[in-house]
Amino acid sequence: MKLAVLLVLATIALLILGFALPVHQATTPGIVSGEALPGVGASANTPEAAVRSLLGDVQARDWNRAYSVLANNNNVPKEAFIRDVGGNYGSLRTFSSLEGSRTRVLNENGDQALVRADMHWSTAVGPIYDVKQLKVVQQGGNWKVEWPLEKQPTVPPQVVPVNYLRWDVISRGPEDDWGTQNVDSPRVRIVSMNAVQHGSTLVIVGEVVNEDTVPAFVDINAILIGKNDQNLDQESSFDKIQHTLLPKQVTPYRIDFPGFNLSQVKNVRMDAKAMLVPASADPVIAVLDQHEQNNVLGRKVLSGNLLNESGRVVNIAQVLATYYDSNGKVIWVSDGYVDRALLPQTPEPFAVDMPDSTVGKVQSYRVTVNHYMRQQS
């Protein structure tokens, strides 16, 4: 009986202590203090707070709240804003979520300010970094963001005749006799290969061509051979290659060996595997206006526009850029995904990075495009 009374008294005492001395709430795991998106519900009494509030709503996918705090929502239709931020047409953005961001006030002048937002999107193909410079204005005592809506030109209704080739494959069946002829695998050839040290990563770059008259699904493997003829590591080109090659098409490839140094390696054994696959010559994607420039962070990038010349939407596009030196040797391969879908006949901008180590050495470059299209029923 005494023990029960003692326990009740102790519980009451602890409850009183809990109310009298509250514990301060810890920061949310995964969000680094000072750089993240506390946003939701925060009062926008500074330009930076307004941007962080907006990005917090975007992260929470609370489109109504995000739209309500825009300064220019009378000019930006709500549906267009949601499409711009959340993606459409099965683009990479529709498979993305905003994971974090950094904001920095670049300029503040009375009731106007310019804030840079470095956004880190988590996507189905890995992280994507996006930078926006947002104009923030003071309205009715609160700071609000003017959203820079990227307007997509509307494609007029039309019929686009597409009659490019399509290849289907009928292979030998299990019931066929021994000695019955099969269809050979396509002939592909590695036309160049170069080993480059990039920080602590050994990188193998080069190009491969489909020499055959049928499409090929290509994968490149590399084995590092050490000083004592031992296998150090083996890697494949994974997504740093255009896997499906039409006849006479050339693709760059890049194979990364993190933690390896060129001095450890005596030899590199390359292996190009090619399979005969059904393929289509559609769509044709032109890469227009390629030029080197500095992005808003001051980093050198290769940018341009992709133009989908077919009549179907390309849901996800990946850009592969090959950089050559003055001898025509491949010195680097960059890649980047475009997070918006490529609409028919509509240019879509892209930019891929040029590492500092290649600046000054790049004499020419070539851009190719990988595309992923949702199957049509």
């Binding site: 490019y164 290849w167 050979d184 036309v191 044709v284 390629q290």
Partner: protein, 288 residues
């Protein structure tokens, strides 16, 4: 004594050999697969006959003094056979060899299924000869290999088999199209199709002109050095260098030509390539 002992040994050996010979069955040395034959026996009474082959065994009662018939189905598989006749605790045996009968079918391996025109020794053919019972025919036979394309003379060569196989290396023709690759022997024919395809493009030429929406670039018919049109779907890369930057587009050949409309308003220098083959370069002025 010294003279008698060797003579006695020789006599004993000869008698032993004669005794062994008397126990051997009288069998043909070789028999063609699927051909029956008879084994002569002597004496009287019944005996048990055993026949053991590579893929067949038999046991049956026979009458001594009568011929033992070995039926054709019993000797279908080529190889060494053992015949044993056992009577009253004594055995007589012998062996014979069944060789393949005359060729009845060809297994023909042809490689590759596709080959560019004008490749020396690029077409490989291997023929294996088999009789009616799938025995490899190992005696030498002459197999004729023929490679022919429509509207072009056929190339033919006869090759003698060695240990049942004949093989040949042939040059691909100069005309693209499906080639019939045939291996033939005494009315037996096996055909394969070798797709002879155009080789790398040769003398790649483009022309370009202003269009309302940009620059229309078109290749001349893309052909290899033998004049064969390249396969549809072959990728041609157009590169345009303009003040706005570099523009590239990979276009597949369709009905011998590749064309694209580059949306470039300003002047541009346009070049063309296909695989590792470069073409000409043309300059186009800006829009008026």
């Amino acid at each position: 004594m010294r003279r008698v002992l060797p003579a006695a040994c020789l006599t004993i050996c000869l008698m032993a050999a004669l005794a062994l010979a008397a126990q051997e069955l009288q069998l043909p040395a070789t028999v063609n697969a699927g051909s029956g034959f008879a084994i002569a026996t002597s004496g009287s009474g019944s005996a048990t006959f055993y026949l053991v082959g590579p893929s067949y065994t038999a046991k049956r009662q026979v009458q001594l003094g009568q011929e033992i018939q070995v039926r054709p189905p019993e000797v279908r598989s080529a190889g060494r056979y053992l015949a044993i006749l056992r009577s009253g605790g004594a055995s007589r045996s012998g062996s014979f060899y069944v060789s393949a009968a005359k060729p009845a079918s060809l297994s023909f391996l042809a490689h590759p299924s596709r080959i560019p025109v004008g490749q020396r020794g690029g077409v490989v053919g291997v023929a294996f000869l088999f009789d009616n019972w799938h025995n490899l025919v190992r005696r030498p036979e002459d197999v004729e290999f023929r490679l022919s394309t429509k509207n072009a003379p056929a190339a033919a060569q006869s090759v003698r088999t060695r240990d049942g196989a004949a093989w040949i290396l042939m040059n691909s023709g100069t005309k693209a199209g499906n080639a019939q690759f045939v291996a033939a022997l005494d009315g037996i024919e096996e055909a394969r199709v070798i797709q002879q395809v155009a080789s790398d493009p040769c003398h790649l030429q483009i022309r370009a002109e202003r269009s309302p929406r940009g620059i229309l670039v078109q290749t001349a018919p893309v052909r290899d050095c033998s004049g064969n049109p390249v396969s549809d779907g072959t990728v041609v890369t157009f590169t345009a260098n303009s003040p706005a930057g570099l523009s590239t587009v990979d276009v597949p050949v369709k009905k011998d030509i590749a064309q694209v409309e580059l949306k470039i308003p300003g002047p541009a220098t346009i070049s063309v390539a296909s695989g590792v083959v470069m073409g000409n370069e043309v300059k186009v002025g800006g829009q008026q």
